[in-house]
Structure formats: structure tokens, C-alpha cells
């Protein structure tokens, strides 16, 4: 008995990583009768994946029955709060009744450990092969074409006509094989998260929820993440709450505030403390979020390989929208579809795989990234206004507007207006800002 296996060992495609993009690709290819091998470095799918807390499922719905998926709560309420570091909060809350009916705006909180494992099982049931506890360390190339991967196990090389690189934010293989540049630290955010366990009724009382309804609270301003660009969030699950902050590594490196301090301070803000007090901490985690937007996206197609999901920088973060899950699954689906077509035609070079990039560019994935492409520079150079002045101005203006005294309402309105204009630099300043941010609302 020697070490080589006696299975036929021939795969049509290898998927690196059993995260959302990888599994979506594997499921799609398996359903088109391809022999697919998914290589996951964790002990099980999900053990190495961390995210904020909300899964967006429009594409997932096309691949599986979302009702079978292990979700925690559907998002019945979205809330955006701006926090000043004097303890003020100004918030907008949306609870459209429609979100209480399926498909619940395709937004659910999930526990990645359980969801990813379930999602990978669907791919295995469809015929894909999953091997865990195995890390892909390099690509195998023959005169420029990618023909397989090398792993960290003995006898660890394995070949296939196409490799789907769905390795996540730390795309070491793609970077190592010069398929993409390592992102700049301005284009990556560090996220730290805490999961706290509560009794179910404590959560439902505290967030005014019933049944499977959940909520998604997002927070900005200096009160949330301090002197940086980023935000905080709170997502209630069935019996746990996800609490976290995410901000640019550039700021973490230069503002000498460690991610742990930023998380601690976020939790102590007067608007946040009542929502997170008590319970007991069951997990502390950290992850990186690619935020380079469409400019940082690498070439998605190569001879014998495609890149999908976080590894391709497909995350939209414009403050209002924080979306990576839908983009990962959509790109995974398109990757799988294009690879299946290429295999059927018997040609797997970049040209044969090109439809993948076209389909992704025509989908919401790249359209949204392009739409908010301006947002990054805008945020960077307008940081002080958005994160420092605006939160305080809003808080002061409200106090003026809703002041209860014996002066007239006109008095209150004009003082509130004066306070806002003071922050925006007068009418002209306000007009300029409105023009600059027109794309956010249009």
C-alpha cells in the first residue's frame, strides 16, 4: 500500500477556498456535471471566515432554497446612526412592513460557521469533492498557463484545466503568482468583532423584535470609530449579538489606536452601551475587508484561472451599503458558469474564460462598485466634515430645532439652520457638498 490514491484523480476544476464565492462556483459547476475539487484550509468550511453579520441572498435564492439555509434572523429594521464623541446620536430607522414578508428583502443575519458548512454541503451533494485542512500554497504553471495547484500536504500537487481562486481577502496564491498586486493599506480595512451570548427574550426586548425578525444597526462618526474612516455595527442573531467595528488599516497604523481599543470605545458610547451591556462574550474575531473598489480589482481572467469574491476585491462599502456576500456569491456563480462553458468547449485559456469577466462587469457587482467609485477619495479628503463636524452639527441643530422654551419656532428653525450652515461653510458650501454627494442618493 503506498501513498498514491487509487481514485481516478482527474478533476475538471479546482476551487481554492470553501467560502461564499468558492462554494457558489463549485455548486454551479457540479450542477453542470463537472468534476470539481474544493480545497479548504480550515477544519471545516466557515472556520476561517468572519464577516459583519448580514447575508444578502438575491443570487443565493437562485442557487438554493433559502428557507433551508441556517439563517438567524431576517433584517426587519435598518438603522443608521451618526455618533459624535461627545455622546450625541442622530439616527434614521427604517422598518418597512414589506420586509416582514418573504423574501425579507433578501437580507438575513447568519453565523458563518454554520452557514458556510451548510452551503458547502449543497455543493458536495451536487457532486463536488471537498477536502479540508489543506492549504493551497502555489499555482502549477506550464509555459504560462495555470494547470493546477500545489498544497501543503505530502504528494501535494494536483492538476485541473481551471483553477477558481476564491481565497478571500488574504489572496496569497493570486498575489504570489503575480495575478494581482497586493492592495495598498489605504484600500483595506481591519475589522474586529465580538459575539456575545444573551437569552433570546433579552435580545428581542432590547431590539423590539418578535419571532425571527432581526435588525441591522450601522454607526458612523468620531463617536463610532474615532479619528478614522470606518464604522461600527450591531446585528442581533437568535441568541447572540454581533458587535464590531471596521476602519482603514492606514488609520490603524498611524493613529495609534489599536482595533481592540476602537471596539472597546465603540461599545462604551452612550448610544451603544445600553444595546451591548451584559451577556457573555463567546468569540472575539478579526478579518480584513478589501475596500479598494473597482480600481483595485485585478484581472479576473487568466489562462487556466479566474479570481472571484473578496480575492477580487468585490466588496462595496460606501458607508450606507456594506455588501460583500451578495457580490461573492454572484461572482462565484458567474465564474462557475463560465468555467463550465469553457470546459464543454474544451478550451480553458483566458479568451475562453472571458465571458466570466463580461458577465460580472454587466452584473450589479461591478456596476455598484463603479457607481460608488468616487466615494473613496471623497471620504478620505472630506473625513473631518463627515466624521467630526457633521455629527456634532446635526446634534446641535436638532437641539435647537426641538428646543422647548418660550421663544418662537421661527427662532428655533433659524438657529438650527445657522448651526448647519456653519458646519457646511454657508449656502455655497452646502450646495457644493450636495453636488459632491449627489451620487449617494441618485
Amino acid at each position: 500500500m503506498t501513498d498514491e490514491a487509487n481514485y481516478d484523480g482527474a478533476f475538471d476544476a479546482i476551487v481554492v477556498g470553501a467560502g461564499l464565492a468558492g462554494t457558489a462556483a463549485a455548486l454551479t459547476m457540479a450542477r453542470r456535471d463537472l468534476d470539481v475539487l474544493v480545497i479548504e484550509r480550515g477544519t471545516a468550511p466557515g472556520t476561517k471566515n468572519v464577516f459583519g453579520g448580514v447575508m444578502y441572498t438575491p443570487t443565493l435564492r437562485e442557487l438554493v432554497d433559502v428557507e433551508d439555509a441556517p439563517t438567524e434572523r431576517y433584517v426587519a429594521e435598518k438603522r443608521y446612526g451618526i455618533l459624535s464623541d461627545d455622546g450625541d446620536e442622530t439616527a434614521v430607522t427604517m422598518r418597512p412592513q414589506a420586509w416582514n414578508d418573504a423574501p425579507h428583502n433578501d437580507s438575513f443575519t447568519v453565523i458563518r460557521r454554520r452557514f458556510d458548512e451548510w452551503f458547502a454541503e449543497q455543493a458536495v451533494d451536487a457532486g463536488a469533492t471537498l477536502v479540508t485542512e489543506t492549504t493551497v500554497t502555489d499555482l502549477l504553471k506550464e509555459n504560462g498557463t495555470i494547470v493546477g495547484v500545489q498544497t501543503d500536504r505530502p504528494n501535494g500537487a494536483i492538476e485541473a484545466p481551471v483553477v477558481v481562486l476564491a481565497e478571500g481577502a488574504n489572496s496569497l496564491v493570486s498575489e504570489g503568482a503575480d495575478l494581482k498586486r497586493t492592495d495598498d493599506r489605504k484600500d483595506v480595512a481591519v475589522a474586529v468583532k465580538e459575539v456575545r451570548k444573551f437569552d433570546r427574550d433579552v435580545i428581542e426586548e432590547r431590539f423590539r423584535l418578535s419571532g425571527d425578525a432581526g435588525a441591522a444597526y450601522h454607526y458612523f462618526g468620531d463617536g463610532a470609530v474615532g479619528d478614522t474612516v470606518g464604522g461600527g455595527y450591531i446585528y442581533p442573531n437568535k441568541r447572540t449579538i454581533s458587535i464590531g467595528v471596521a476602519y482603514r488599516i492606514e488609520d490603524a497604523a498611524t493613529r495609534n489606536r489599536s482595533p481592540e481599543d476602537v471596539l472597546n470605545d465603540f461599545k462604551h458610547h452612550p448610544a451603544i452601551a445600553p444595546l451591548v451591556r451584559g451577556g457573555n462574550m463567546v468569540e472575539y474575531s478579526a478579518h480584513a475587508i478589501p475596500e479598494g473598489g473597482v480600481d483595485a480589482m485585478p484581472d479576473l481572467v487568466h489562462d487556466g484561472a479566474v479570481i472571484a469574491g473578496d480575492a477580487a476585491g468585490m466588496v462595496l462599502n460606501n458607508g450606507i451599503h456594506l455588501e460583500g456576500t451578495n457580490m461573492a456569491i454572484e461572482s462565484g456563480y458567474h465564474a462557475g458558469d463560465a468555467v463550465a462553458d469553457a470546459i464543454e468547449q474544451g478550451r480553458t485559456n483566458a479568451r475562453a474564460l472571458a465571458p466570466y469577466e463580461e458577465n460580472v462587469r454587466n452584473s450589479f457587482v461591478v456596476e455598484n462598485l463603479e457607481h460608488y467609485d468616487f466615494f473613496h477619495e471623497l471620504i478620505a479628503d472630506d473625513r473631518d466634515f463627515l466624521f467630526e463636524d457633521l455629527p456634532r452639527a446635526l446634534a446641535d441643530a436638532q437641539r435647537e430645532y426641538f428646543r422647548m422654551d418660550k421663544t418662537s419656532k421661527d427662532e428655533h428653525v433659524s438657529r438650527a439652520k445657522a448651526r448647519m450652515l456653519d458646519a457646511t461653510g454657508g449656502w455655497f458650501g452646502a450646495a457644493k457638498k450636495a453636488w459632491k454627494y449627489r451620487k449617494v442618493l441618485s
Binding site: M1, A5, N6, V131, T134, N155
Partner: protein, 260 residues
């Protein structure tokens, strides 16, 4: 002509000890959400079996486990590391078995497989009695070697020599085949399974399954045939410590003298 040895390695699926939590309120043990994994001392048993096969220069390594159908996952782990085959002992009749019927079932299967050497881990992390290996030897009236640090096969004399760890020293003991070995926890460095072997083990490999009737022990197993019963399980209250942090070494010296 070297004699090929038939080596049987016993493995067990247990809840991952890291994930077994104690519910703070009720104090009850919560094993439900702990994933099922290979009993960690058994990784040393598998490694010892593979090394033995290499040193004897031939023979087969068969992994066996007793448990519900999902327990075949630990047979896959053994095959992925290099075992030739795996047998799953599974039967509702085994439910509630303590050491006595468990070691009986493993002993009968070892006999079926015409084992020369049976290798086990030192103990299991969920019950940690360490009594299954001696139990197998007793049921079959075979020789046994426990707390083994190193094995030295002597195929020509049908003998296996082992270096055993004993209080305050060690022993080198020779045992006639067939012999049951319990390898000390942490005594060797388990190898990493080859990629292709792991894929084969987790996809095409199917273990044989054997039930109590196949082994002819259907009315000698299960709760009724288990002499010991668990009367109660509660959390061990941690040893109360003063947690006093001192500033100077002379205060610490005083505490040391007081404790002598």
C-alpha cells in the same frame, strides 16, 4: 521472507474537548455543539501502527472503531494517514456500553481480523479510563503493553518489544504475539496525510460495517451488560486560589516558607 504483521488500530470519535462547554447557569455539560473529532491520543496510535508496518517491512494496518455511522469519519482520518482499510462496528445494541462490552466488541473484531498487534491510544478524552486496551487483552487472553514510548518489532521471534514508561523510570518488556499495545499520549509526532490519499479516504473509501450479531455478542453488549453506570455528572469547581499579586520578592519568600 519477512512475516507480514496484521496490525489493527483502535480509534474513537469523541466530542472535541475544546468545545465541550459547561452551561454557566445549570452547570450541565454541553456536548451537543462540540464537533465530533478523532480522539487526540489515537493520532499517536495511528502513527505507531504506520511506523510499525514500515519497520516490519510489510503487512496491513486496519483501523476499527465502535460507534454510530458518522463515526466512520475517524476511519477516514486513519486511511488518509496511510491505513489500508477500516471497519465500523455499529449496532443499536452497542448503545450505553461501558468498558466491558466495548472492549469485548473490539476484541472479537481484532480476532476476526487475525490481528498480530492491536494498537490503541492511551485513553479517550471523553471518558479517559484507559481501560479499553487492557480490556481487549483480557477478553482475548492476549499479552499487553501499556504506557508505551517506543516499539521494537521482532517478527522472526513472533515478539514485540516495547519501552514502557513507569513511575520513576522505564521498562523494556517483550511480549508474544498477539499483543495489545497502548501508546503513551504525545509519544510520537503524527505525520501529515498525503493530499491524494486524503481525497481518496474522504470520497471513495467505504469501511466495512459489522454488527453485534456478526460478532456473535448480541446479548453481551449494551447498557444491560455494562457493570458501571454513570450516577451523576457535574462541573468540577475550580480549585479556589488567592490570586495575590505581590510587589517584592521577600514577601514571596515568606509565602514560600509558609507553604513548606
Amino acid at each position: 521472507m519477512n512475516e507480514d504483521w496484521n496490525i489493527v488500530v483502535c480509534v474513537k470519535q469523541v466530542p472535541d474537548a475544546d468545545d465541550v462547554t459547561i452551561d454557566p447557569e445549570t452547570g450541565r455539560l454541553n456536548r451537543s455543539d462540540a464537533p465530533a473529532v478523532l480522539n487526540s491520543p489515537d493520532a499517536n496510535a495511528i502513527e505507531a501502527a504506520l511506523e510499525l508496518r514500515e519497520r516490519v517491512g510489510g503487512g496491513r494496518v486496519t483501523a476499527i472503531t465502535m460507534g454510530p455511522p458518522p463515526a466512520s469519519a475517524v476511519l477516514e482520518v486513519a486511511v488518509a494517514l496511510g491505513a489500508d482499510d477500516g471497519v465500523l462496528l455499529t449496532d443499536r445494541a452497542f448503545g450505553g456500553s461501558d468498558t466491558w462490552p466495548t472492549s469485548l466488541a473490539l476484541a472479537r473484531e481484532a480476532e476476526e481480523l487475525d490481528a498480530d498487534v492491536v494498537i490503541c491510544g492511551e485513553e479517550s478524552t471523553d471518558s479517559s479510563t484507559g481501560q479499553v486496551p487492557p480490556g481487549i487483552a483480557a477478553h482475548n487472553e492476549w499479552a499487553q503493553l501499556t504506557y508505551v514510548e517506543e516499539l521494537e518489532p521482532r517478527p522472526e521471534d513472533d515478539e514485540l518489544i516495547a519501552r514502557r514508561d513507569v513511575e520513576g523510570g522505564y521498562e523494556r518488556v517483550g511480549a508474544e504475539l498477539p499483543v495489545v499495545v497502548a501508546v503513551g499520549f504525545g509519544e510520537n509526532d503524527p505525520r501529515t496525510g498525503g493530499l491524494h490519499r486524503k481525497i481518496y479516504a474522504e470520497t471513495e473509501f467505504e469501511p466495512d460495517t459489522v454488527d453485534a450479531t456478526d460478532l456473535g455478542i448480541e446479548d453481551e453488549v449494551g447498557l444491560a451488560n455494562s457493570p458501571t453506570k454513570v450516577g451523576g455528572m457535574d462541573t468540577a469547581d475550580p480549585v479556589a486560589r488567592e490570586n495575590e499579586i505581590l510587589e517584592s520578592t521577600d514577601e514571596l519568600t515568606e509565602r514560600i516558607e509558609e507553604a513548606m
